[in-house]
């Protein structure tokens, strides 16, 4: 199943990691000038977060509001899990430490909640959190885009989720 993109936001509401695999559906592709970014093949390893990339901000604003709304309506135990548009499905997982994982996939995709949790437990914690050369926090995404994390994420998405 195609995975379009993936984001991590830290507890300071900053996008600390962003990755695209396939051209995003046009509805969220942003300004036409950015279309080249979205080409498959331009998403090599090491693509870091660019400040001012507004799609990350939009995604954050959306999931932040949705998550708060869900809790307000459904109680604190309720969770916002995903939403679907006519073009894509957005999956959401939040850790108790307020790190937010977001994945955009095609519409036929089953729930990615477990997958996002796996990315958190097996990739993020192991290769970013425990890496002595990564800082404790990641302003500007520093330390997240390391080789072990990126390669294992690539494998996970292309082999496990494919």
């Amino acid at each position: 199943m195609p995975v379009y993109s993936f984001y991590i936001f830290d507890r300071h509401a900053e996008c600390i990691y962003k990755r695209r695999w396939l051209p995003r559906p046009t509805s969220i592709a942003g300004k036409p000038s950015r279309a080249t970014d979205a080409q498959a093949g331009s998403t090599g390893l090491g693509q870091t977060v660019k400040a001012g990339d507004d799609d990350a901000k939009l995604v954050f604003g959306t999931v932040f509001s949705l998550r708060n709304m869900v809790r307000k309506l459904g109680g604190e135990e309720d969770n916002f899990v995903s939403f679907t548009t006519s073009q894509y499905k957005l999956h959401y997982y939040e850790t108790p430490t307020n790190i937010k994982f977001v994945m955009l996939t095609d519409l036929k995709s089953p729930s990615m909640r477990i997958a996002l949790q796996q990315i958190y437990i097996n990739l993020f914690v192991e290769y970013v959190v425990k890496n002595p050369l990564s800082p404790v926090e990641h302003p500007g995404g520093v330390g997240v885009n390391n080789e072990l994390f990126e390669e294992s994420l690539e494998q996970f998405v292309t082999r496990v989720l494919a």
Partner: protein, 256 residues
């Protein structure tokens, strides 16, 4: 090769903690005491319930295990702390090596202690009744001690290879290989630091063990990745000239 001054000073620090007045200057007296004395002779206060190191058996933690993550976090802080105080990769490795060095000295004591008191009857024996520790006199037994018992004590398995330099110019060089060093498990070295190997800490431990046995040596850690073992590390041991000369004498005299 002249004895590096660092070692001399490190040694004196570590040895001083047995009671010299200035012993507190730089090192925790953690060194396990091979023959526990019933009372600390110092001016230290002790708990009335006698929870002191003298009242606990040294083998108590022998088979104890702790979370690997706890080690990873401590190690991470050690690296971070070292990074704050250094100027480059070499400097960082040197500092990690220095942090490992005293550990090597202590682990050596622990290894000897345990290799001599395997039976429970030896638990409270004084130093007079236990057999002398089996200290290696030649390079090869020392290397086997590192490759086997030391690695097992630290990592619960032996090292993966032990080799002698094939070059006739460097007969004093030996290599111990670890395919997947524990300390590098979580480390992803950025490209701009690709020479860095944080296993310099382990190299320091090895150096401490060598020095503790009376084998002056320089030990360094080098990345030698293979397809299968991306964090494969070779520890290069370079023994000093004095060691090599002694080796020849011992060889002539048939000491094994």
């Amino acid at each position: 090769m002249a004895a590096p001054p660092r070692h001399v000073s490190m040694l004196s620090i570590s040895n001083s903690n047995t009671g010299a007045p200035q012993s507190a200057s730089s090192d925790k007296p953690q060194t396990p005491q091979p023959s526990p004395s019933p009372q600390p002779t110092s001016g230290l206060r002790v708990p009335s319930n006698r929870k002191t190191i003298y009242d606990r058996h040294l083998n108590r933690s022998r088979n104890a295990e702790l979370s690997r993550a706890s080690f990873a976090y401590l190690f991470a802080e050690m690296v971070t702390y070292a990074q704050r105080r250094v100027t480059g990769i070499q400097d960082l490795e040197k500092r990690l090596n220095e942090q490992g060095y005293p550990l090597g000295l202590r682990l050596l004591d622990l290894l000897f202690y345990r290799s001599t008191s395997t039976s429970s009857s030896a638990l409270s024996s004084s130093s007079t009744s236990s057999s002398p520790p089996n200290r290696p006199l030649r390079i090869l037994p020392l290397l086997h001690l590192i490759h086997g018992p030391l690695w097992r004590l630290l990592f619960q398995r032996s090292a993966d290879a032990l080799e002698h330099s094939v070059s006739p110019d460097t007969p004093n060089e030996y290599m111990i290989t670890d395919n997947d060093p524990l300390v590098n498990t979580y480390i992803s070295v950025p490209r701009e630091m690709n020479m860095l190997n944080c296993a310099a800490f382990i190299a320091g431990i090895i150096e401490g063990v060598c020095d503790g046995c009376g084998f002056e040596a320089k030990v360094s850690a080098h990345n030698q990745p293979t397809e299968m073992w991306p964090s494969r590390t070779v520890f290069l041991l370079r023994f000093g000239d004095s060691v090599m000369e002694r080796e020849k004498v011992l060889e002539r005299n048939g000491v094994k």
